[in-house]
C-alpha cells in the first residue's frame, strides 16, 4: 500500500490579477521506501505542491481541494490542530526550499534541530539537545556544531542541519524541496549521498523536488514531470528518462548539457505560461514542437502567432498579404486585405497554411478558410486538454494516446 496517495489535488492562489492555478488537479502515489522526483521548470508549481501536502497555506488561498491519503487516512479531512499534531513533521516532514538560508540566525544549530521535538513532544531542553546532537551525528555533523550559530556554518553543514531537523521526529515521508540548489557540485553530491544513506537506513520515502534532471535520475525510483501546474508525465524513472513519452519531457531531457557529447543542449523556446490564465487545451501547446489540431489552439493565440510571423517574415515571397487580423470568439480569426479581394487572400492563405504547417505548428489548427464578402474567415479546430493515459507510466499528450494505440514511442 502506498504510504502517500494524492488524488486530484487542487491548490490555487488568489491574486489581484486572478487565480494562480499553481497546482491543478494533480495525483500521484508514493510507495514506502521509494523516492518520487517532481521535476519541472521553476514556477511550475513544485513548491506549491509540497506546501499543499503539508498544508502550509498563505492567506491568499483561492482553492484547496482533493484527497491526500497518508497511512490509510485522508489527511485533508483533518482539522488544523489535528493536522499540526499528527501529520506535520511526525508523519511528513520537509526540507523547505532554501531552508539552509532560512535557519534562525539567532538560535544555535543544536537548538534549532531540537525545536520540532520541543514543539511536538514537550521534552525538556536537555533531553531535546541530547537527541538533537544524536540526530546531527546521524547526518554526519560533529557535536561541536550544535553550539554554533548558522552564520558560522558552511552551506553543506547548514543543509545537514536542516536535514537533521527534518528527520528528528522520524517521519515516514520527507519532502525535499530543491535541497541542493544553493550548493556547489561537490557538496551537492555529498548531500545526495547522505540522503541515499538515510533512506536506506531509516526506510524513508522521499518526495524529491528538483529542476535538475541529473539529480532526479540519480535518486528517484519514480518521476513526475510537472508543467504549468499539471503533471505531464509520471512513471518509473528508468522508463521516463530513457524513452520519454511526453514531448515536454523529451525537450527537458534534451536541454540538459551532457559532458561527453557533441550535441549542444537544446533550449525550449518561449517562456512558461502565466498561471493566472493557463493555456486552454494542452498547456504545453504554445511551446510544443509537435503540437497539432487537437492541442487546443484558440483564436487569440493564433492571431498573436500570426502577427509575430508577419513581423519576422515581412514581405517575403508566399506570405499572404493581409492588412488586418482579428480574433472573433475562440475559434474564428478574421483577415482583411487592402488590395487583394477576399478570394485572393483566402487562396494565398490556404496555400501558406499548407506549406508552413510543419515549421509553424500553430498553422495546423486551421480547419477551414472561407472567403466572405469583405473578409476571410479562418475557422480553427476545437481542442481539449489531453488526459493522463496509461497505467504504471502515464503521460498527458494527444500524441501519446495515439502512439499507445499504435504501440510506438514518439521520438
Amino acid at each position: 500500500m502506498a504510504v502517500l496517495d494524492i488524488r486530484n489535488l487542487i491548490y490555487w492562489y488568489r491574486t489581484r490579477r486572478g487565480a494562480v492555478h499553481a497546482v491543478d488537479n494533480i495525483s500521484f502515489k508514493l510507495e514506502q521506501g521509494e523516492t518520487i522526483a517532481v521535476v519541472g521548470e521553476s514556477g511550475c508549481g513544485k513548491t506549491s505542491t509540497a506546501n499543499a501536502i503539508l498544508r502550509l497555506l498563505p492567506k491568499n488561498v483561492e482553492r484547496y481541494e482533493g484527497e491526500i491519503w497518508f497511512d490509510g487516512q485522508d489527511i485533508m479531512a483533518l482539522g488544523n490542530e489535528d493536522f499540526r499534531k499528527q501529520v506535520r513533521w511526525k508523519g511528513i516532514s520537509m526540507v523547505l526550499q532554501g531552508a539552509l538560508n532560512a535557519l534562525n540566525p539567532t538560535v544555535r544549530a543544536g537548538a534549532q534541530v531540537a525545536e520540532p521535538l520541543i514543539v511536538h513532544y514537550d521534552v525538556d531542553r536537555d533531553e531535546a539537545m541530547e537527541q538533537a546532537i544524536a540526530a546531527m551525528k546521524r547526518v554526519g555533523l560533529p557535536q561541536d556544531i550544535a553550539r554554533r550559530y548558522p552564520h558560522e556554518l558552511s552551506g553543506g553543514m547548514k543543509q545537514r542541519v536542516v536535514i537533521a531537523m527534518a528527520l528528528i521526529l522520524k517521519p515516514k515521508v520527507v519532502i525535499l524541496d530543491e535541497p541542493t540548489s544553493a550548493l556547489d557540485v561537490m557538496t551537492q553530491t555529498n548531500i545526495i549521498n547522505l540522503l541515499k544513506e538515510m533512506k536506506a537506513a531509516e526506510g524513508l520515502s522521499y518526495i524529491f523536488i528538483t529542476h535538475d534532471l541529473g539529480l532526479a535520475s540519480d535518486l528517484a525510483d519514480h518521476v513526475a514531470i510537472m508543467y504549468a501546474g499539471e503533471i505531464d508525465e509520471i512513471g518509473p524513472a528508468d522508463h521516463v528518462f530513457v524513452h520519454p513519452k511526453h514531448p515536454y519531457t523529451g525537450r527537458l531531457l534534451a536541454s540538459v548539457p551532457r559532458l561527453r557529447s557533441e550535441d549542444a543542449p537544446e533550449f525550449i523556446p518561449g517562456a512558461p505560461p502565466d498561471l493566472t490564465r493557463p493555456p486552454p487545451g494542452c498547456r504545453f501547446h504554445l511551446r510544443c514542437p509537435v503540437a497539432f489540431e487537437k492541442c487546443g489552439w484558440v483564436a487569440e493565440e493564433f492571431v498573436d502567432r500570426l502577427r509575430l510571423l508577419q513581423a519576422t517574415t515581412q514581405g517575403k515571397e508566399g506570405f499572404p498579404r493581409f492588412s488586418e487580423v482579428e480574433a472573433r470568439g475562440t475559434q474564428m480569426v478574421v483577415l482583411r486585405a487592402d488590395s487583394d479581394s477576399p478570394e485572393t487572400l483566402a487562396a494565398s492563405f490556404s496555400e501558406f497554411v499548407k506549406s508552413g504547417r510543419e515549421t509553424n505548428p500553430f498553422l495546423k489548427s486551421v480547419r477551414s478558410v472561407d472567403a466572405k464578402t469583405k473578409a476571410v474567415a479562418v475557422t480553427l479546430h476545437e481542442g481539449a486538454p489531453p488526459p493522463l493515459i496509461g497505467e504504471e507510466w502515464r503521460a498527458a499528450c494527444w500524441l501519446v494516446q495515439e502512439a499507445t494505440a499504435h504501440d510506438t514511442i514518439p521520438a
Binding site: L56, L96, G98, A102, N104, T106, V107, Y149
Partner: protein, 508 residues
C-alpha cells in the same frame, strides 16, 4: 563596506558598545552608575529624608557659592564658615567658672556663680561673612522668688580693640518650667539679621551706640529710619565711615574673640556656648536658600534620574514592544485594536494630564512612574516594533517554524521577539532621556515628588527663588549639567545601537 547586522542581542550590545559613541555613552553611563552606587555611601538615605526639614542644614551658610568659585573672584580669599565649638571640645570655647558664697551678716548667704566663655578666632578673608549666630545653653535654678535667673553679656572683641557688647540678656523661663530643677534654656542669638522682639534685637541698638561712641556716625543719623545696620559687615570692618556700606567697607583682618559673661545667683548655674560665623562659599556645589548642601541633592539626583528613567523606559518600551509584536504577528482585529489604541494614546497630551493629576494628588515619584506607564502601554514603539515584525514575519525561518508545527505564540516568543530585542534596546536607550526630562519638567513645575531632591526639583526651586536674577548660578548650572549629562549618555548609547542595527547609518 558595511559589516553584517550582528546576530542576537549580545552581539548587538557588544558591537554597539564598541562604536565611538557607544564607548563614550557607556563611559558616561558607567560614571552615573558609579555615582548611584557610591552616593548612598557618601550621603545615606537619612540625609535625603531630612531634606525637607531645616535642622540638618542649619550650620551651612545660606546661598553660598561653591568654594572653588573663589578662583574666579580675582585672587580674593572668600570667607569659609568658622565654627566656634563649645567648651569641652578640642579648640572650643575656653571656660572660666568660679562660685562664691557671700554672707550678708544676718545669716543669709548669697551664692554667686561667675562664668566666662571665650573663643578667639582669626578672620583673614577678603570678604565679610554672610551671617553670624551665637547659641547659648544656660543651666540655672529659678524657683519661685527664691533665686533669680543669671545675667548674660555677649561681648565681641575686635583686633583693633574697639570691642563692644553685643547684648545683655536674662534667660527667663515660662511659668510651666519654673519648678523644675535645674532648669536649662537654649537661646540662639542671630547676630546678623536679628528678629524684632527677641533679645538679640538689641544688637542693632548696641551697634548704633558703638558707632556713635567711635565717632563713625552721629546720633541723629544712627537713629534715622533710613539707617541700615548690617552687623556682619560692621563687626568685621575697619572702623571708619566707609564701614557703613558693605560695598565700601574694608575687612579688618586679625584675631577676633567672642566672649560670654554670666553672673548666676546659685552655685549650680552653668552655661556653654557655640557660635557660627557663616562664610560665603561652601562645598563643591554651594547651598540653596534653605542651606541645603546642593552637592548632596545633586548626587542623589543621579540614582533617582537613572532609576526613574531606566525603569520607566524599560517598562514602557517592553510593554509597547510586546503589544506591537502581537499586533504585527496576529494581525486582523487584534492589530486594528492595538494600532487604533496607539493612535489614540499618541495624541493624548500626557504632560498636561500628568500636571492635572499632580495638582490634585501630589503623587510620589513611584506613583508618577505608574501613571506614565499607564499612559504609555501603547505608543510609537508599538508602531515601530509592529513594522519590524511585519518584516521579520516574512523571513523564511518563520515559515520553517510553521512547517514543523510550532504554534503561533511559540513563534512569537521564541523567534520574533529575540529578533526585535536589539532594536528595542536602542529604543529603550533613546526613551530614557524622555523620562528624565519628563520627571524634571514635573518637578520643575513643583509637581514632582514632594520629598526627593531630584534635579528638576532643585531647578524648580532655583527658578522660583529667582536664582537666575540674583546670580546664584550654581543653583541652576549643576542640576542642568546633571540632566544634560544623563541625557547625552543615553542618547549616545541609543545612537550607537542605531548605528549597529540600521545598515544605512553604518556605512562609513
Amino acid at each position: 563596506m558595511a559589516a553584517p547586522v550582528p546576530i542576537g542581542l549580545k552581539a548587538a550590545l557588544l558591537d554597539a558598545v564598541r562604536t565611538k559613541s557607544g564607548m563614550v555613552g557607556t563611559g558616561m553611563l558607567g560614571f552615573l552608575i558609579l555615582l548611584a552606587i557610591l552616593v548612598p555611601v557618601f550621603a545615606p538615605y537619612d540625609v535625603i529624608k531630612a531634606w525637607g526639614g531645616t535642622d540638618a542644614w542649619q550650620d551651612n551658610p545660606k546661598l553660598a557659592a561653591p568654594e572653588w568659585s573663589e578662583v574666579f573672584s580675582g585672587g580674593k580669599h572668600l570667607p569659609r564658615t568658622i565654627f566656634l565649638t563649645p567648651a569641652g571640645t578640642p579648640g572650643g570655647f575656653l571656660k572660666f567658672r568660679t562660685t562664691e558664697n557671700v554672707s550678708d551678716g544676718k545669716g543669709n548667704w548669697n551664692n554667686f556663680t561667675f562664668l566666662g566663655l571665650k573663643k578667639t578666632f582669626g578672620f583673614q578673608a577678603d570678604d565679610f561673612p554672610s551671617e553670624m549666630t551665637v547659641y547659648l545653653n544656660t543651666m540655672f535654678t529659678q524657683a519661685g522668688n527664691l533665686s533669680k535667673p543669671p545675667a548674660i553679656s555677649v561681648i565681641f572683641q575686635r583686633p583693633d580693640n574697639k570691642n563692644l557688647t553685643l547684648l545683655d540678656d536674662t534667660p527667663r523661663l515660662s511659668t510651666t518650667d519654673i519648678n523644675r530643677f535645674p532648669n536649662t534654656k537654649s537661646n540662639a542669638y542671630a547676630v546678623s539679621q536679628p528678629i524684632k522682639d527677641t533679645p538679640s534685637y538689641k544688637i542693632l541698638d548696641n551697634l548704633r551706640e558703638w558707632l556713635i561712641a567711635n565717632n563713625v556716625t552721629t546720633r541723629a543719623e544712627a537713629y534715622d529710619p533710613q539707617f541700615y545696620v548690617q552687623p556682619e559687615v560692621l563687626l568685621f570692618a575697619q572702623l571708619d565711615r566707609s564701614m557703613l556700606s558693605k560695598s565700601t567697607a574694608h575687612v579688618l583682618k586679625g584675631d577676633y574673640s567672642l566672649r560670654i559673661e554670666l553672673v548666676g545667683f546659685e552655685n549650680t548655674d552653668d552655661a556653654n556656648a557655640r557660635g557660627i560665623v557663616f562664610g560665603t562659599v561652601f562645598g563643591l556645589a554651594g547651598t540653596d536658600d534653605a542651606r541645603h548642601d546642593l552637592l548632596v541633592g545633586l548626587l542623589w539626583g543621579a540614582p533617582v534620574a537613572l532609576a526613574f528613567g531606566t525603569a520607566g523606559a524599560l517598562v514602557v518600551v517592553l510593554i509597547q514592544m510586546i503589544l506591537g509584536a502581537i499586533s504585527g504577528w496576529y494581525g486582523g482585529a487584534v492589530d486594528e485594536l492595538v494600532q487604533r489604541a496607539a493612535d489614540f494614546y499618541l495624541i493624548i497630551p500626557t504632560l498636561p494630564i500628568l500636571i492635572l493629576i499632580s495638582l490634585l494628588y501630589r503623587p510620589s515619584i513611584v506613583a508618577i512612574l505608574f501613571i506614565l506607564v499607564a499612559f504609555g502601554i501603547v505608543g510609537s514603539t508599538t508602531k515601530v516594533v509592529r513594522s519590524i515584525v511585519l518584516q521579520v514575519k516574512e523571513e523564511q525561518f518563520i515559515e520553517a517554524a510553521r512547517s514543523y508545527g510550532a504554534k503561533k505564540t511559540r513563534i512569537l516568543f521564541r523567534y520574533i521577539l529575540p529578533r526585535v530585542m536589539p532594536y528595542t534596546f536602542a529604543l529603550i536607550a533613546l526613551t530614557v532621556p524622555a523620562f528624565i526630562f519628563l520627571e524634571a519638567s514635573l518637578s520643575f513645575l513643583g509637581l514632582g515628588d514632594p520629598v526627593l531632591p531630584t534635579w528638576g526639583h532643585t531647578l524648580g526651586l532655583a527658578y522660583n527663588n529667582g536664582a537666575l536674577f540674583y546670580g546664584f548660578w550654581w543653583w541652576i548650572v549643576f542640576p542642568v549639567v546633571g540632566i544634560i549629562f544623563a541625557t547625552i549618555a543615553f542618547a549616545l548609547l541609543g545612537y550607537a545601537f542605531d548605528k549597529v542595527l540600521n545598515p544605512r547609518l553604518r556605512e562609513q
